[in-house]
Symmetry: C2
Subunit: 456 residues, 2 copies
């Protein structure tokens, strides 16, 4: 009897990979500690949405789910900035037609993947079964089944850890850190987050522009909102834990109301029962996980958040995890089930890109928090939109990361940062972007970044 | 009844701190998973020696042990370089009289501290009792007593983790990482190490110069040897794990002998039964641990390797841990048993210095491995010795770290690196150090580093 591929974690990454491996004919056993979200009422997660962009869409295409999912997506064509005073300002994500991101329900997408999994005969999903340990050398995972209270082991041909930021498979590697020379790094932001909801306006209408990602940048902290189907928005407050504008300043109902009245007055009318709502939701931390190696003994591999949990500020966590699966699949064309070489190639291809998006995400946090409302930055965004409108070979850093799934995160970071430094310098001058000689600007950009653009 | 100070780990750091706290009148319960090395025959550790320098001596002075320990120290006045060909070259550690380091037995020093602990009525040491977990908020530690197989908890006023690189107290913080925003970083070198021994020459003589730290730098790898009382040397091979000159190349007796014959021929005659000896000793990994915070809830604190395990290439691991205890003690003069503020101050004072010595130790690995036999580097060392001979206000980076216990590691790093860059540039020219105008060199160094020297 052939041993199955054991996958820990039936979240977005694990289920996608399981589906793809089963489509390729592998026996797959997929384990998930949470209940089946299609049967249980897991209210948490239902209303949470994510930004899906081209790298993620490519992965859905790989397993044949792009069309089914497309019907549930809400396009977000740009950022709608809500300044402290004055009218909101729209910043397009791209100067090109059709380049936008999508708000998608995390739960809905996961359920679509689980439905696809159910249709595959070689794929078994075990819910409410927690991975409690892994023997890496024999690819044997231990599980605890909640319903029966029983524990058992499953020996796979390999064990793949797609079990998220708190991965048990990664913990098994960490337990052997000196032997594996397992580098590990955990970094937390000084900011935490809290999720709130803007309910639909009367009649199921959207109280704010539907097709945008809303941002209230406040210099040092911010709030964002993404649209859900049905008229609601999922809202996330990103505040420092400490200090006068931090979460610790909101100790009771009146201080919450005063805070919103001071910083987000236009949102006040959008959250009924703000005080109750606020205190019903927890404050969570924002961390980055980096590690290396992702593979041990040719028998185990980490993918997705288990290998590279990142902060959410580029909207790329899911997209990066999905891209891991696409690269895994492409490498399989070359290596088949030569797992040792397959895993090493996947690691070699993905690790530099995971590091790049991890850094980009932290940098984008600073950008969204501090600079989105900054005049030089706003000029630069306008200039980039003009350049993207006019030149087919200009892509902002944001576009490279978000719309160019053929460009690696690492190259997007290097080229994007070079462009940004150049354009920010230009925009510190007095000339408005609309009065600039765009042809000359583009010629200079091409020269300035020629060494990086060769592989575009 | 007052609750005791609970200290996990009766190694060098934990025992020193326990002694000092007991001297100050605190009730101290000290726990150690290993047996009492004064009673059990723990061969591992007996022959291992460490480099003790001024920061460490200051700590021994604090607890009144400097004189007793001094009798067991072997001065090492410089590095004795064994090149691939030609005669050994002596590089003094300092151009000043009396500035040298000491080889000391780790076990001997630890036993001296334990003996001092026995003399203190308020201090109980529990051997063969492993800390298996800590409730940080209540300062309650769980222990497993080997002899009885029993587990019990001890509630302290605080719990101090001096339990080394694999600290259980640090693990308790890591288990609450999102809540504590516990940054954690584990980095491994590509090199490992293996300890060997040169036994005494006939009649108990030293087969090599006694008062030196011996180095065989080979560009990419190296061997070192430190003297023990009685004529033997503890030898450490630092090799890459992989590659033709790595540990993996030595698979059997003949390949070990061939390796030594090729790279360390003068050592061949010093190790009888080289092949057996070689395979009796394991290859270990070399890692750096960085974390933050070191303290949680005002109830727990990490010190020594538990807070900052470093690689051994500056000979400062023990010295840094001892300095932690000295700073702890100084802060007690201000904060007494206001543990919350005490622990925060200790962390604030020590974290930047622990980071500095961690980086310096990795950098010194590269220096010892690659540059010690390099002509420009050797010129620079000669020039530094001349400068230290002539100017009372010149201290090399090595001297700042090693002999200036009044200068922080962080300042030693910054000032030392600035001096090094300046002197290396100077030594790339044709002039020999002996022909340089030392007064002019020193004037330029003083100007170049004036902003850093203010606090010297």
């Amino acid at each position: 009897m052939t041993k199955p591929v054991v996958i820990a974690g039936a979240g977005l990454c694990g289920t996608l990979l399981a589906v793809r491996l089963a489509q390729r004919g592998f026996e797959v056993e997929l384990f998930e500690s949470r209940p089946d979200m299609r049967r249980a009422d897991i209210s948490a997660g239902r209303s949470i949405n994510l930004a899906l962009s081209d790298r993620g869409l490519r992965a859905l295409r790989m397993v044949g789910l792009e069309e089914a999912v497309a019907r549930e997506l809400i396009p977000m064509r740009g950022r709608l900035i809500h300044p402290e005073s004055g009218d909101p300002v729209f910043q397009s994500y791209s100067g090109r037609q059709g380049e936008h991101i999508h708000s998608v329900s995390r739960g809905g997408l996961n359920m679509a993947l689980l439905d696809a999994a159910d249709d595959l005969p070689h794929l078994n999903v075990h819910f409410e079964t927690t991975c409690t340990g892994v023997d890496l050398e024999s690819a044997t995972a231990r599980f605890h089944e909640h319903a029966t209270g029983e524990s058992y082991t499953v020996e796979g041909c390999v064990v793949i850890g797609a079990d998220g930021a708190h991965s048990a498979v990664r913990q098994a590697m960490l337990n052997q850190a000196p032997r594996l020379r397992f580098d590990y790094r955990l970094d937390w932001l000084s900011h935490g987050y809290k999720e709130l909801t803007f309910p639909p306006a009367p009649g199921g209408a959207y109280a704010l522009e539907k097709n945008a990602l809303h941002i209230w940048p406040r210099g040092g902290f911010m709030m964002i909102a993404l649209p859900n189907p049905g008229g609601s928005f999922t809202v996330t407050l990103f505040l420092p834990f400490e200090g006068e504008n931090g979460f610790e300043a909101m100790t009771d109902g009146p201080s919450v109301r005063a805070y919103f009245n001071r910083w987000f007055p236009d949102a006040l009318g959008l959250i009924p029962d703000l005080e109750d709502h606020y205190f019903q939701h927890p404050v969570s931390s924002l961390g980055t996980v980096r590690c290396h190696p992702w593979t041990a003994y040719g028998k185990s591999l980490l993918l997705g958040d288990a290998a590279h949990a990142i902060v959410p500020f580029y909207g790329q966590g899911m997209n990066c995890a999905f891209e891991d699966c696409v690269v895994f699949d492409e490498c399989m064309d070359e290596f088949g089930d030569d797992w040792l070489r397959l895993f090493q190639r996947v690691q070699a291809l993905r690790k530099p890109n995971a590091d790049a998006i991890a850094s980009l995400a932290v940098e984008n946090f600073l950008e969204m928090r501090d600079h989105v409302a900054n005049p030089v930055f706003m000029k630069k965004r306008r200039l980039e939109t003009l350049l993207e409108n006019r030149f087919t070979d200009y892509f902002s850093k944001y576009s490279l990361v978000t719309f160019r799934e053929d460009v690696s995160y690492a190259l997007a970071q290097t080229l994007g940062n070079a462009q940004d430094a150049f354009l920010m310098d230009l925009c510190r001058g007095d000339t408005a972007p609309e009065d600039m000689d765009l042809q000359e600007v583009m010629t200079r950009i091409r020269m300035h970044t020629a060494h990086l653009r060769q592989s575009l």
